[in-house]
Structures are given as structure tokens and as C-alpha cells.
């Protein structure tokens, strides 16, 4: 990326300048605060059942992490691999669907002219303002009617779209995609869908990557709804890991070992998605 910049002109000092140490220092503070919960979770997950309550817990990890992790994985009640597979299916399918449908709709709202687009967008945003604490009941009645309870579909369907996603893609595309570019493609004879494919999509990529990440993580940690519609034979990770807390005295070394294991796939996803968040392709394309 910096290479591309330099190729454009060595004189452009402002945007290629390396920032000073204070930027790194400030970011480092943010990063330490971000990492702290993980380290703290690891401290307890590497201890024993009393670690979470231990006021004199050492800041140096204990040696039990692998043991605790294997207890969690081998616990038949946790059903770890099945739950992991289900979580991957649910999070991936909802994230893909949310990104695709939101990008399509967001592109339409941001750049295409059609009757009712304004009010419709307002309606989408307004639905976010209705608290969802009661939504579980009508949704359950619906899934029961569909006969989907117990199946992953009951978790996937409500996650296929979000008003948040559409609003986000609309705002991002309206900002980052110059209308001239669409017009140029249209003048060149591109059909609407080809224009979307060749102009809209590339512009939306960084936002889409982020939406994918957000949706994935949200679904990954979702508990109450999957708990209600799934059962122990077919759980997602938060549902199956919750069993570790089903005790009057909770062994948090196991709970947090489970939590950390469940976080590993997210970290892997981060490494992948992080690369997609590079500078908007459009930044130079107007001129190109």
C-alpha cells in the first residue's frame, strides 16, 4: 500500500509521512487495555477452580491451561466439536448473507434513484430504535409454526439481514463511491447489475469486510435466542459452553478456558479480514 502511494508522487508528504512516537504510544495504551481482558482470562483459565476468587492471584499464568482446555473439549456435555461446527455454519452464513443483502440494498439506497427510497431508508433506521427484548416471543412463535425449532435454520434466518447493515452500507457507499464513476460506467453501456458488480462492489469492499466481521462476532457470541431454539444435541458454542456454569459454585477456570478456545476462530478471522480493510480502492480510482 505505501508503495502505491509512493509511485503516485514522492512529493506528497502529508499522507506518506511516518507518524511520530506519540501515535504509537497512544495506540499502545489502547492496545494494552484491549488485551487486558484476554490476559486476565488466561490467568484464570490457567489456574484452578478457585483462581477466579483468589485475591492473591499471581499476575503470572499458572500451568493448567492445556489441562483445563482438554477438560472442556472432552466434556461430553459441552459437545465441543459439534458446537464449533454449528457456530461456524451459523456465523458464516449469517455474515455472508448480511453482507450481500446489505451491500445490494445499501448501494440502491445510496446511489440509485427510485420512488420511496428516502422514506424506506428512514423506516429501516427507525426499526433499530425499537427495543428487541420482547422480540424473542413472536420470533419463537414463528419458528414453531415453521417447524424449524431444533434446527440451525431457526438461528440463521433471523440473522440473515440487519437494519444496521443496510444503514452502514448506505452511508459508506454514499460517501466513498463518487457518483461520477457510476455515471461513467453507465455511459459506457454497463447494465445496472454490471455497474454494481464492477463499480459498486469494489468501492464497498472495506465496509463489507467490516460488516462481515461485526456480524460474525455478534452471531458467534449470541446466547439467548440459540438457547431457546436449539437443544443440547445441536448447540452453538455459547449454548454448549454455558453448561460449564450450571453449578452453584462455578469453576471459572473451565469457563474461561472454554471462552478462550471459542475465541481462537475469531482471532483467525481477524487476521484474514484485517487485510481486507486496506485503503478504499476508490481513493485513487477517480483519477485513474
Amino acid at each position: 500500500m505505501p508503495l502505491k502511494k509512493k509511485a503516485k508522487g514522492g512529493a506528497s508528504a502529508v499522507s506518506t509521512m511516518r507518524p511520530g512516537w506519540f501515535v504509537y504510544a497512544a495506540l499502545a495504551i489502547v492496545l494494552i487495555a484491549s488485551l487486558f481482558p484476554f490476559y486476565w482470562s488466561f490467568l484464570i483459565a490457567s489456574g484452578d477452580r478457585y483462581s477466579a476468587n483468589d485475591p492473591n492471584l499471581s499476575w503470572w499464568p499458572g500451568g493448567n491451561f492445556l489441562h483445563n482446555a482438554s477438560v472442556v473439549i472432552n466434556n461430553p456435555a459441552v459437545n465441543f466439536w459439534k458446537a464449533l461446527g454449528n457456530s461456524i455454519i451459523v456465523s458464516t452464513s449469517t455474515a455472508v448473507s448480511t453482507v450481500v443483502l446489505s451491500t445490494l440494498a445499501g448501494y440502491a439506497f445510496a446511489k440509485l434513484r427510485f420512488k420511496g427510497s428516502g422514506p424506506m431508508l428512514v423506516a429501516v433506521v427507525a426499526t433499530m430504535a425499537v427495543p428487541v427484548q420482547l422480540g424473542i416471543v413472536p420470533l419463537y412463535i414463528l419458528m414453531q409454526k415453521f417447524g424449524w425449532t431444533g434446527h440451525l435454520g431457526a438461528v440463521i434466518l433471523p440473522g440473515l439481514v440487519t437494519a444496521f447493515g443496510v444503514f452502514w452500507m448506505t452511508q459508506y457507499i454514499s460517501q466513498s463511491l463518487p457518483t461520477e464513476l457510476i455515471e461513467a460506467a453507465r455511459v459506457d453501456g454497463c447494465s445496472m447489475i454490471r455497474t454494481f458488480w464492477h463499480v459498486g462492489l469494489p468501492a464497498a469492499r472495506p465496509a463489507a469486510a467490516m460488516l462481515f466481521l461485526f456480524t460474525f462476532v455478534t452471531q458467534w457470541n449470541n446466547f439467548m435466542w440459540p438457547y431457546i431454539v436449539l437443544d443440547s444435541k445441536n448447540p452453538t458454542l455459547p449454548v454448549s459452553l454455558s453448561i460449564l456454569q450450571a453449578n452453584y459454585f462455578v469453576d471459572y477456570s473451565l469457563v474461561l478456558a472454554g471462552v478462550l478456545l471459542a475465541t481462537v476462530p475469531l482471532i483467525l478471522l481477524f487476521m484474514f479480514a484485517g487485510r481486507q480493510l486496506v485503503t478504499g480502492i476508490m481513493a485513487g480510482a477517480v483519477k485513474g
Binding site: S117, V132, F164, Y252, V255, T263
Partner: protein, 334 residues
Amino acid sequence: MTTTQQQTEAPSPREPQRRRAPLTWRQRLGRLDVKLSPYLYIAPFWIVFAIVGLFPIVYTAVISFQDWDLVRNQGTLTGFDNFAFVLQDREFWMSLRNTFSIFLLSSVPQLIAATFIAAMLDKNIRAKTFWRMGVLLPYVVAPVAVALIFSNLFGDKYGLINTWLNDFGLPKIAWHVDVIPSHIAIATMVNFRWTGYNALILLAAMQAIPRDLYEAAAIDGAGAARRFFSVTLPQIRPTLIFVIITSTIGGLQVFDEPRMYDTRGNGGSNHQWETVTLYLYNEGWVNFNFGRAAAIAWILFLIIVAFGLLNFAITRRFIAGDAAPKKAKKKVKK
């Protein structure tokens, strides 16, 4: 790059399309394409959303006018009784106070911090992906870990923070007794989770700003701060509006953090940190008064919409007031 590619791939009969003469079937198709496409693009979203998004909302609306029995899924019409009750309930006004207090304590510092973090990440730093993803880490921490960590930090007696305060000879803070400290603690939990998240959203927007704008501004003699206020902020306005509106909506619906804040999860013995959504939840799931809970949902909806519009108007005026960026933009294009 992309544009050049399209030019070469574009269908060849370009000339006929420009003529004003009778429409060919292809042109008609083209018009249809223009007219229908937007609807086709939004249709998949609306179809699914109508089922899983709108249906629960309509359901909530319907039962808000009834004395609703959740289990039997039936009720008796009571008109505006539920709304009247809520508006006369002391608990509602307390929860509204708490909600706004927590909202202000969280959203304002959070957005300022997020903007600054985004601006730093937008600089040409080394190991970009590493820093970006690091900032988002709090968002992935499982709720159970968040609850554990913060109850360890904010314990009234043995909490880490009070222990430190004690070490410095300062008095302990009654995090779970006094109103404002409990709000600060909850706002901290909220900020911890969402600052990095909003920072990345703003970063994505900043990254889409053509770098030439900065160069042009720099040539015009604008310093770093001036560039930030005259180029960055106006350029990311749509995203800023997005962040402010979603933060308003999310902030006024804050639920998980106050619920996790103690083991009872009802907002404190004296409703110290009971937010409106927690009040809603208690009315519904604890008191089994679902009609009333639905009424609370709609009252909160109206408050959020009103507040969201206000924020929208302020944001718009505040950022649109600066004309500099438009000039800069034109300069670059020509």
C-alpha cells in the same frame, strides 16, 4: 483501474444508444433495468426483514394496547392504559434519568476517543492490520468474561479499583450503591466494548478519503488540526452521521451492561442503574406484564427517534457549516 477494464469490456454498439429515434428493445430493456433494478436490489433485504424484523415490531405494537398474556398468546384490549401507567410510574422516570446519564457518560467520550483512535490508525503507521485488529479485540470478548472482569474491577469491598484507591489513601467508592459511580462503572463497560468498534467504522470512512485532498490542503497551508477539521470530518460526514445515530440508538437501549453489573441483574436495590430497557425487561419477564413492557418499548422508541433527529440535525449543521472541503474537492478534480 476498474474503469479502464469496463471500457474495454463494454458492449460495442454504443452509438445507437445515443440516438433519439424510436426505442429498440434493448433500450426498453435498459429503461426497465434502470427502473426495476433498485427495487430488485432492496427486495431480498425487505422480504427477509419483513419476517424477522418487522413482524416482532408489529407484534410489540399490537400487544402494547392490551393486557397481554404471553403464555396463552391472547389479551384484552385496554387502549392506552399501559402507556398511561408507564408514564405515571416513578420507576420509568428514574430509569429514563439513568439511561440518559449512562448515555452521556458513554457516548460522548466514546465518540471523541473513537475519532482520535481512528485518526491515528489512519496515519501511515507500521503494522496496520495488527493495530486495527487490536483495537477491535474488546468487541470479541465473550459477555461472561466481561461480566467477570468488571465485577472484579468494580467490587465495592474487594474490587481492584477500590483496593488501589485505598493504597493511595483515598476513600473507597460505593460502585453498587451510589448513583453516579454506578453509571460511571457501567459507562466504562460500554466504552470498553464499543470504542474500538466505532473507531474502526470511522477508520474505514477515513481511508476512503482521497489522499490528494490532504495534499491540496497542505499546499494551501493547512496544518494537521486544520486538515482534520476541514477535510477529514466533512468528508466522513455520512459515516459520522451513521455512528452518531447508531450510538444514540444503541446507547439509549443499553441493556447487557447494566444487567451484568450485579448478580441480581435488576438495576440495583434503589433502581440506581436501572435503564429503560432493563425496566422493560423487568416488567415483561419478571412481572409478566408484557403489554406494559411493549408500551415501554414504544415510548422508548419515540424518545430515541426524537433524540436521534436532534442529533442528526446538530451533526448536519455542525459539519456542513464548513465550506472549505468543497473547494478543495473541486480543485483536485480539475
